[in-house]
Symmetry: C2
Subunit: 171 residues, 2 copies
């Protein structure tokens, strides 16, 4: 048996999952997790499954020691990585070979609430802008359809664009 | 001159920033960025400033090669790392020494929209739960006040809990 891979994506595994979810819808209900350990100062690390811990710190101007990307930068990275999966999955499903894909992300953040200078304000990103550089031989219509599909199905994109219940408890 | 550090936090740098923002409010307007490069399959990496690229992949059941945490796991890590900064900053400001801090995060995600089985559905987290294990000698009231302050000032927490404009453009 020969398996042809487009974009080095294992489309068979995705197809198997879709078939499994169609047969048993509760297979789509997934739970993801992480544990963060504080390491002193503004340094911490996220433990995800058995991967190497993902380090975090803040720049010196924010009181950190600048040993790693900070959490709001990590958030942009998570969004870009999620969109990359979306383009790779959608392009593969549509028979489009991706030659190159680079995603640039920027977010605007007013530090006043974080610094305690604007109580009850919005401490998060005011907005996030993403520029996608996608190189393929597909037609403009195919690429536009792919782009629309990615935006309509992005787990991190939807989590950011919509209000999500976040329950934070001291235990 | 002797500088006393609580929690190994450079409180002076945060104080300097607060004073600078009070003197010139537009210093609080910050822009953060990341660039994501696709590496084949569902593998990509986020380049943030000049730090080592942060790798991303998907588990085999989702068509990936399982070489790194996936984007929705990274999102939980970013939230936990952000909350850790919040507790460290608030505790330091309140003269509370943190003995240990561990933050456990979980999120529920229905894969049907991501898989194309629920068009126009919500592809993101339906909800995120965070359990914070904080060990200090502070009183319950002090810890409760710290907790409330962290929740009220968390950049990633607010970004997730509120709807954020996310503009994604092909360029």
């Amino acid at each position: 048996m020969t398996t042809t891979l487009i974009n080095d994506v294992n489309a068979g595994a995705v197809g198997d999952l879709i078939a499994a979810v169609q047969a048993q819808p509760d297979k789509a209900d997934t739970v993801w997790s992480a544990t963060v350990n504080w390491n002193g100062g503004f340094r911490s690390s996220a433990q995800i499954r058995d991967f190497d811990p993902v380090p975090s710190d803040e720049p010196p101007g924010l009181g950190g020691t600048d040993t790693a990307p900070n959490p709001v930068e990590q958030l942009l990275g998570a969004l870009g990585n999620c969109l990359a999966v979306g383009y790779a999955a959608g392009a593969t499903a549509g028979g489009i070979e991706i030659k190159d894909l680079r995603i640039e992300l920027e977010g605007d953040l007013d530090l006043r609430t974080f610094l305690g200078l604007a109580p009850d304000g919005h401490a998060g990103y005011e907005g996030i802008r993403v520029n996608v550089h996608l190189e393929t031989d597909a037609t403009d219509d195919q690429v536009a359809a792919l782009h629309d599909a990615v935006i309509g199905t992005s787990p991190v994109g939807h989590t950011l664009a919509r209000p999500i219940p976040v329950e934070i408890a001291l235990v």
